[in-house]
């Protein structure tokens, strides 16, 4: 047998040449196939968890919005009746308006306060004091909102509260904090902002730390000082953080429940009743789960619309470095 390969056979050999490569590909494909399965296996708990505990309840809630159900009797299909009732219910309308007013005021205060304190702490404080303030401002967030509200209820009691006692030292008469519409709204906002601004504060601290020092130096060389530096450098470069902080703050504020529920039970009148409080009252106190779901669906749509609007607007106001 000749050891030389006839020329005409070369293409065949050439055709055979990739064979080891094909085997390698097959190996790789098999490896990647198993990697894919491995990825699915790792993802499975999350997917199942999300499906079972997030998406199923959301889907069930949407379906329930079209039924009348009091837990005890069988559900009855009522079409859009729940939505019609909810829209006509003056308490629901007021609670949504309250929620929106609350979001506007509380989020503005929360972000304004957080930003001002973050700038102050980041620029003016020594490192050890910065650490102290970071912890101190974040601390209220880890407390239970219900416990804080119970505590605040004592502080703001008209007759025996510490706040009015301090005011009396200055000759100011007792303020009916929790029994007048204005007073109770102010206390709910105050308590909410006090408890939540720490999170936005931390976000802003992180955002401020990521702004290059050179940018400030360049601005200084261009003659920018004091406030102008913050207006023309800090705010634009902090805009991605501001977007994130505002989206999170607005979503959280739209779902406010604990503070008004414990402090005022939504009163006096409906002055501090919020959308989530109405959902709770409809479902667990009046046993109208369908109506509660309908309110929940409407609230979800509002949250989605506001968040989408924020992201759309962000294209005009947010600057990425």
């Amino acid at each position: 047998m000749s050891t030389t390969t006839p020329r005409r056979n070369r293409p065949k050999q050439a055709a055979k040449a990739p064979k080891p490569a094909t085997t390698a590909t097959a190996h790789t494909a098999s490896g990647r196939h198993s990697q894919r399965w491995l990825a699915w296996i790792f993802l499975a708990p999350t997917i199942l968890g999300m499906g079972l505990f997030t998406l199923v309840p959301i889907a069930a809630s949407v379906v329930l919005a079209f039924f009348r159900w009091d837990i005890i009797s069988a559900p009855t299909f009522v079409g859009f009746d729940n939505f019609a009732e909810v829209v006509q219910d003056p308490t629901v309308r007021v609670s949504f308006l309250n929620t929106i007013a609350f979001v506007v005021v509380a989020v503005a205060l929360q972000l304004g306060l957080a930003l001002a304190l973050a700038v102050m702490v980041q620029e003016k404080m020594p490192a050890w004091l910065r650490t102290f303030f970071r912890s101190a401002f974040f601390f209220p967030l880890i407390l239970s909102a219900a416990s804080v509200s119970i505590f605040m209820r004592y502080l703001f009691n008209e007759q025996f509260g510490v706040v009015n006692w301090f005011l009396s030292l200055a000759g100011i008469p007792a303020v009916p904090w929790l029994t007048t519409p204005g007073g109770s709204a102010a206390v709910v906002i105050l308590v909410y902002v006090w408890q939540n601004f720490g999170f936005s504060f931390l976000l802003f601290i992180g955002g401020l730390a990521s702004i290059p020092v050179e940018t400030y130096e360049a601005a200084s060389l261009d003659g920018a000082t004091g406030w102008r530096k913050h207006i023309y450098v800090t705010l634009p470069l902090l805009s991605p953080t501001t977007l994130l902080a505002s989206v999170m703050a607005i979503i959280s504020a739209l779902q406010v429940f604990d503070q008004p529920y414990v402090l005022t039970r939504g009163g006096p009148g409906d002055s501090t009743r919020t959308a989530v409080m109405v959902i709770f009252e409809s479902a667990f106190q009046r046993l109208e789960f369908g109506e509660a779901s309908a309110i929940g669906v409407i609230l979800t749509l509002i949250i989605m619309a506001i968040t989408a609007a924020q992201f759309r607007l962000s294209k005009r106001f947010v600057f990425y470095q």
Partner: protein, 473 residues
Amino acid sequence: MTGAETGRLREITRRTALGALGAGIVGATVASWPRLSGTDIPGRGDNSLSIAIMGTAADAAARQRAIDAFTRLHPDIRVKVQAIQAVDWKDFFTKILTMVAAGTPPDVVYVATEGAQLFADKLAHPLDEYLRRDAADMAEFFDDVHPSLVEAFMYKGSLFQLPMDWNAANMYYNTTAFAQAGLERPADDWTHVDFRNSLGAMRKVRPSDFTPYYWTNRLFGGVVPWLYANDTSFLKETRSTGGDWLWDSFYANDPSRNLRSGGYQWLEPNADDPRVFETFDYLRGLVKDGLGVRPEEGGGSSLVGLFASNRIGTTPAGGYWVQGLHEAGMKENDYDVAFFPKWRSQRHQFGTAGYAIMKTAKDKDAAWEWIKFSASREAMELIFPNPGTTPARRSMVNEALYAGKGPAHWKVFYDTLDKYPTTGPIPAPPQQAAVETALMKNVSLAVSGDERQLKQALESMQRDLELALRRQS
């Protein structure tokens, strides 16, 4: 598809991920059909008689003694008592309803007046058949219990609970504050005018850091006792027919037999009644003149402490306060209790509580045995060892119960029923939660502003009550 494409590690696209999530939802739904419930959790679905009460671990000792006594009597019935912590009865009922929704309803629930009709209407099983069967055994219980308490648990002619404990809204007063203002103990028939004058006298002596009248914005002890005293209410009160079998069996010779009915009904709002306006206007006057507080919604948790610190002159409360005041350091002569002031009537408000058998109870006969046992003198003495409430049995409201704790006129508690047999329960139709919200949310506004604001608040209350009573009716 080429080999190269097949071999590439395919990324998990959004479509794939969404498909997987969809499959997850379908899988989860299929997997949970028929519906999984809390009883599927190992250890929960046993055959014990499950009893839910409002309480904390602190009451465990007295509870366990009662369970042990019951087990000695009925060794074949296993009892499991769940003490559910709650801020108030509304909160407690919410938790029970959550248990129902979760598929783990208790067999027996301790229900107060606030929820009696909600349970009777939707969740509870009537006791009629058991009472007829064991009439001879139960006669002694009814002999010892005022019929007003029993009537509070009648619903459409059937009895759903036996009263175990109760409390009326009487008027507590601080004896030192009264003495400082030169006031004597109020007469039994003191009027709302006398009451206001007493508050004025106390305010004169202690112009600051003191509240002559402290009241809360709740269904019990808030505005309702004043409405009752003025012979009105925020809901129109009517009575159902029926129930004669019970009254004739157990209260045939009671002087108030003819007042009894098949149960209370609150079907229409009544906030537009001129007497309701008059009552609110009276309370508004107390607030305006600094004699009474502007009530906070759901307030009251700190009231015992405030009263015990001698900073409150008077407040409406029942016998349940005695133990709390004692534990807060008040001596038996530091305070006393009087009847609620008279207006057009001197009808008082009370609330009572007792066990209800759930429709879903696995073994209703066993549940009835628990109720029958709990109504016995032996069980009540175990369950109510101190004046943390007023026992439903008249014979247990005695000197021994209040010895060393006060008040001096403890007889006022049961006399409220005996002397004023028209004394009525907390108005609580099946839509109680919505009704309570409708009342409470308008009270603060009604008593905090001018006459125009009061009118607006009552109009709003009338509208809210109409809506509340329409729901689920």
